[in-house]
């Protein structure tokens, strides 16, 4: 086992791994990488609670397990409730240190697990809830979820009837619960992801990380483009990176690099059917969301000038 740290973009990142190789994720899985990075950020003193999702499979078949920390499998709709229960149990045992992480997919968060999440957030349970968002029910064969973006193909939103509702605004829902910390992140920006995870770890109460985790088979793209797509999601503005503290204080991490949305869409087969007009509609939607977010940032900071442009060349 390697110890010590390596510098990545100026950030010390531990070499120690909490994710064993041999796990069952597909080639280039963003969800596997998200787990690897989060555990590097928060360290080994954690328990993971996992509802049904791809990660159920990734972790390995009984009696094998891919993490070096304990993981409790639980029912699809129960991540937040089960995590809160585990946390309460640990406290009864006198363990106040161990972080309990609920690790759920977008289906398990935006859809079926939303009620449990809302309840836990409303009670401000001391859990770190992480939604790795691959924007569909991937484990069961790419069915749409309420996190599936407008216009995307899934097996239940075929090309003839692509997704016709915008992605549900999870961050707004969580902000409305006034939880102490909620943030978005994605795997192409590991420094940002790690900093946010560490920050969340240092706060008590319900904390939420919403991590965009590209899924090469589900997004119909080459596995080697996984990071590229994640980066373009941020560079084009499609997936804004930001933090919300106490449900009201908004801080945008980066502003987009001024790249057309198309650069993000064109790498993914799930958007291949879109016409120019449809892309224009998506662009409008992204713009409107940014306008809203910039206002929220300005309301907190009095300016938007302090938001750095996402580091991006090309």
């Amino acid at each position: 086992m390697r110890t010590g740290t390596l510098l990545w973009a100026g950030l010390e990142v531990p070499q120690e791994e909490y994710l064993h190789p041999g796990h069952l994720a597909c080639q280039g899985c963003g969800a596997a990488l998200a787990m690897r990075l989060v555990l590097k950020a928060v360290g080994g003193d954690v328990m993971v609670v996992l509802p049904a999702c791809c990660w159920t499979i990734i972790d390995g078949p009984f009696p094998y397990h891919a993490l070096r920390v304990p993981l409790l499998h639980t029912a699809f709709e129960t991540a937040a409730a089960a995590a809160a229960g585990v946390k309460a149990g640990l406290e009864v045992l006198g363990d106040t240190r161990t972080q309990v992480i609920a690790w759920a997919g977008d289906g398990g968060t935006f859809d079926i697990g939303l009620q449990a999440l809302s309840g836990a957030a409303e009670r401000n349970e001391d859990i770190l809830y992480i939604c790795y968002d691959n924007e569909a029910y991937m484990n069961t064969g790419i069915q749409r979820s309420s996190a599936t973006p407008l216009g995307a193909w899934t097996t239940t939103t075929p090309e003839a009837h692509p997704e016709d509702r915008p992605k549900k605004d999870l961050m707004a829902i969580m902000a409305a619960h006034r939880i102490p910390y909620a943030a978005t992140a994605t795997v192409a920006f590991p420094d940002d992801l790690i900093r946010k995870a560490r920050k969340a770890k240092g706060i008590r109460g319900t904390r939420l990380l919403h991590i965009l985790a590209p899924c090469p088979p589900g997004w119909r793209m080459e596995s080697e483009r996984m990071i590229k797509v994640s980066r373009l999601a941020v560079a084009t503005g499609a997936f804004p990176l930001f933090e919300v503290e106490e449900g009201t204080r908004y801080t945008l991490t980066y502003r987009p690099a001024g790249l057309p949305l198309k650069e993000y869409l064109k790498l993914q087969g799930r958007f291949a059917h879109l016409t120019e007009d449809q892309i224009a509609v998506l662009e409008k939607q992204v713009e409107a969301r940014w306008k809203e977010l910039l206002e929220l940032h300005a309301r907190t900071h009095g300016t938007v000038e302090d938001i750095p442009v996402v580091p991006f060349g090309g």
Partner: protein, 556 residues
């Protein structure tokens, strides 16, 4: 796990084993290959300077490491860092993206650091003796290499100072003499012996050297000045002669208005020197600006200095009148291309005009003087014949290098030739086979650089004397970078083909199958699923995906 009763079952099924038994390497059909490749800058550099590695060290502020890396290839970075026409910057991938790296300025910074922090190196003696004729860059580079190998090295030069063209031709506002002197002194401290004021061929013959040394390197440059062959030629000064006089302290211009004939570096240096002496030079060149063989940057500087250019002109005669010269000049036009691919200038009949000036200087090219060499190493025209790589001639133990072989070229080419000859001589005196040229590494083109990681950034601006001031002095006109600007500039380097341990491949691997303990990443092929993320995200083309052919221990 057999159990006989319900009591044996745990309350909940527990997985105690981990997944490492599952060798996911057998999912793979593409394999990441970690292999460093040449950067285009290094490929364009005649010395093959390890530029990306140097840039990485400089960007970290580690000049000691930068110096170590650079000295492996270039013995005199303080010199090339000033006068090299920097083909590296032309090759730089960043040039095709925004602006090339200021490689030469950074080389100079490292070179100056070396001059200040040098420690003397005492090699262990082999007892072999090598004579080097000519103390220009070719001879000095060979001397440096051969001395480091432990051979006794004696350098002969007919001049009274060490450096060849570096101290006798290239003007001091571009290369101060002190910079060359420091290198000469360091060689002396290492044990190189200089015999100055000795003309080989007159005072001592090449044959005598061959009989008293184990090997001889002749690197006497190209010092014969070409003549125009026109009536009144005797009224023209030689360009090299003029520059040499100025380098020796002459500060009186040969006249106020001075015609300079030629379009190469010598003509430009002559004209810019004249400006600094208070004269008004006019360059007469028989082709157009586009065909000038001089270094483009130097032409621009000459223009800024106020040098006048008359293109497509050629003097056909000169007469000396009362205190001034009258040149007859014919206008030219460009005709068909000649063997060198440049259009041939042809006189326009009847276009002659007169040009009056106080003096005229001819700088139309230099040729090597070879009469003092043994006949057997010359061809019918009197050119030296030698192996292009090693400099070995037909005569055993006699090697040649530099401008003597190539005709007027550049300092860096002379250093490279001197080092190649030095390596060959080292083998020769040890009785080993001469080295052969290695196959060059493939380079990394811009399209294999992951530009996502490199926001556009402009090149550092290099400090220099203000125009008005530089035209009045022989002080160095281009100044050095400070460490901070150099670090920032070096950080612009893509590090094409050279791993700089950025750790992208490591951090982005979803299978935790890449480790970074040494100088290069190590891919654990037992688990690597072949997703290709590392290859795409390596910003610099060190990792590429290769088709998986035979897979050891594959599970079908």
């Amino acid at each position: 796990m057999g159990s006989d009763s319900m009591q044996d079952l745990p309350d909940a099924p527990l997985s105690w084993g981990d997944t490492r038994w599952n060798k996911t390497g057998n999912w793979r059909h593409m394999r990441p290959e970690v292999r460093e490749r040449a950067a285009p800058c290094a490929k364009a550099c005649p010395l093959g300077n390890p530029i990306p590695k140097v840039m990485t060290a400089v960007s970290r502020g580690d000049l000691e490491e930068a110096a170590r890396l650079l000295l492996e290839r270039n013995p005199f970075p303080a010199i090339t860092g000033r006068v090299c026409p920097h083909p590296c910057e032309v090759g730089c991938n960043r040039r095709r993206y925004d602006e090339p790296l200021a490689i030469r300025s950074i080389e100079r910074l490292v070179g100056d650091w070396i001059q200040e922090h040098r420690t003397v190196y005492f090699p262990s003696e082999t007892g072999k003796r090598v004579a080097i004729v000519g103390s220009g860059p070719a001879g000095l580079a060979a001397a440096s290499y051969l001395r480091r190998q432990g051979h006794r090295v004696v350098v002969y030069d007919r001049n009274d100072r060490v450096g060849g063209m570096l101290v006798d031709a290239i003007p001091s506002y571009r290369l101060p003499r002190s910079v060359v002197e420091r290198e000469a002194r360091a060689l002396e401290q290492m044990g190189v012996v200089f015999q100055l004021g000795v003309t080989i061929g007159r005072d001592v013959s090449v044959e005598q050297l061959l009989s008293s040394y184990d090997a001889v390197l002749v690197a006497t440059g190209a010092h014969g000045e070409r003549r125009m062959g026109i009536p009144g030629e005797e009224h023209f000064l030689g360009g090299l002669e003029f520059l040499r006089a100025v380098r020796r302290g002459e500060r009186k211009p040969p006249g106020r208005r001075v015609a300079v004939v030629g379009g190469g570096n010598v003509a430009i240096d002559v004209a810019r020197t004249l400006v600094r002496l208070g004269a008004s030079p006019v360059i007469l060149y028989r082709r157009t600006r586009k065909e000038m063989p001089a270094i483009e940057e130097e032409v621009e500087r000459a223009e800024a200095d106020g040098v006048e250019f008359q293109f497509l002109t050629l003097p056909t005669s000169a007469v000396k009148l009362d205190g001034y010269l009258r040149l007859v000049v014919v206008r030219m036009q460009l005709g068909e291309r000649d063997r060198t691919g440049r259009p041939r200038p042809v006189p326009i009949p009847g276009s002659e005009f007169e040009l009056e000036c106080d003096a005229a200087i001819r700088a139309i090219g230099e040729v090597a003087e070879t009469e003092f060499l043994p006949r057997e190493v010359l061809d019918d025209q009197g050119w030296v014949v030698a192996d292009k790589f090693t400099g070995a001639t037909k005569r055993a133990g006699l090697f040649v290098a530099g401008d003597l072989v190539t005709g007027p070229a550049t300092v860096v080419e002379a250093i490279a030739a001197g080092l190649r000859a030095g390596r060959a001589i080292d083998r020769f005196v040890r009785g080993e086979a001469l080295p052969v040229q290695e196959k060059p590494l493939p380079t990394v083109p811009l399209k294999e650089i992951n530009l996502d990681y490199f926001p556009r950034a402009s090149r550092v601006s290099i400090p220099e004397l203000p125009l008005a001031a530089r035209c009045k002095t022989f002080d160095e006109e281009i100044l050095g970078l400070d460490l901070n600007s150099a670090r920032g500039e070096a950080a612009r380097c893509f590090s094409c083909g050279s791993c700089n341990l950025c750790a992208n491949c490591w951090i982005f691997c979803p299978d935790a199958a890449i480790h970074l303990d040494g100088d290069l990443p190590w891919v654990n092929l037992e688990y690597c699923k072949g997703c290709g993320v590392c290859a795409t995200e390596c910003p610099r083309g060190v990792i590429t995906m290769k088709e998986e052919l035979a897979r050891e221990g594959a599970v079908a």
